[in-house]
Amino acid sequence: MAEILRLDPIRCDGHGMCAELLPELIALDDWGYPIITRGPIPDRLLDHARRAVDVCPVLALRLRHTSTTHGAAAVPTPAGAGGR
């Protein structure tokens, strides 16, 4: 069972700490809001992902189980994908 990162863009207030802890999967857009790489989290990054989830002060970042990679691909793109 794979895990994916899920961002609640309404809750997120751009603290950016998640990106400090998981730069492999989380980039920040021009306003400091995270852009999260889609898809299941590689095993080697799971602990870092948990730590990133823990550090978010507004609980905007969550780990979610997905049974198939197909499910992971269906995650909506968070935070405007960095454009504009």
């Binding site: 863009p9 309404i10 809750r11 207030d13 603290h15 950016g16 700490m17 400090e20 802890l21 306003w31 809001y33 550090v55 002060p57 507004v58 609980l59 909506p76 793109t77 968070p78 935070a79 405007g80 994908a81 454009g83 504009r84």
Partner: protein, 198 residues
């Protein structure tokens, strides 16, 4: 003799708790004003805040438990957990208990944060600002070393740190969290980040 050891433990753990909680308040403020430096990323502030908070709970537990089991004090668990229930120095001891109870709420909600949600967690977390000065008053009012010069120095230093932190927070809040800024950030949340809607 063992009674004395318990008493020393109570006193020592009380002072250490004050020092640690002072650090926790300072780090909490640093996290909330989003301070960072070149070699000190923000996640570090948040994580050290949490680690020292848990450590200080250990010392606080030691402070309370040794005071209660010390046969000389005959306090009992009720007076350690119910404010002003103690017959011994009810006011000063009661303040310590109030501070302890507030802190237990802060710790419990922090541990259950994912379940109760960030709003309730935040609301309860604010009481930490009340818990700290009440604890200081408890120490000044009933601490065995309260009038020792070194203890007065510790009190003054801790008070200075927390007062500075609170002032910092108030000033930072005025700049970044006044109404227009809040409105602006709400607007940003809905208008500048349309990705979720696309």
């Amino acid at each position: 003799m063992s009674t004395q050891i318990l008493w020393f433990a109570t006193r020592g753990a009380g002072v250490v708790s004050l020092l640690l909680f002072t650090a926790v308040v300072g780090l909490g403020v640093m996290a909330s004003v989003r301070w960072q430096a070149r070699h000190w990323p923000r996640f570090l502030t948040a994580e050290v805040h949490r680690s020292i908070a848990l450590l200080s709970v250990v010392f606080l537990a030691l402070h309370v438990v040794t005071a209660v089991i010390d046969p000389f004090t005959s306090l009992g668990w009720i007076s350690a957990l119910v404010p002003f229930a103690s017959s011994y120095r009810p006011l000063w001891l009661g303040l310590g208990v109030v501070s302890l109870d507030l802190l237990l709420a802060v710790v419990a909600t922090s541990l259950l944060r994912a379940r109760i949600g960030p709003r309730a967690w935040r609301a309860i977390h604010w009481t930490a600002y009340a818990s700290w000065p009440i604890a200081l008053a408890h120490g000044i009012g009933t601490g065995s070393d309260a009038s020792a010069p070194w203890m007065l120095g510790v009190d003054a230093a801790c008070l200075g740190i927390v007062a500075t932190a609170v002032a910092w927070r108030l000033l930072a809040g005025r700049r970044s969290a006044d109404l227009p800024a809040v409105v602006a950030s709400l607007g940003r949340g809905t208008f500048e980040k349309p990705g979720a809607l696309r």
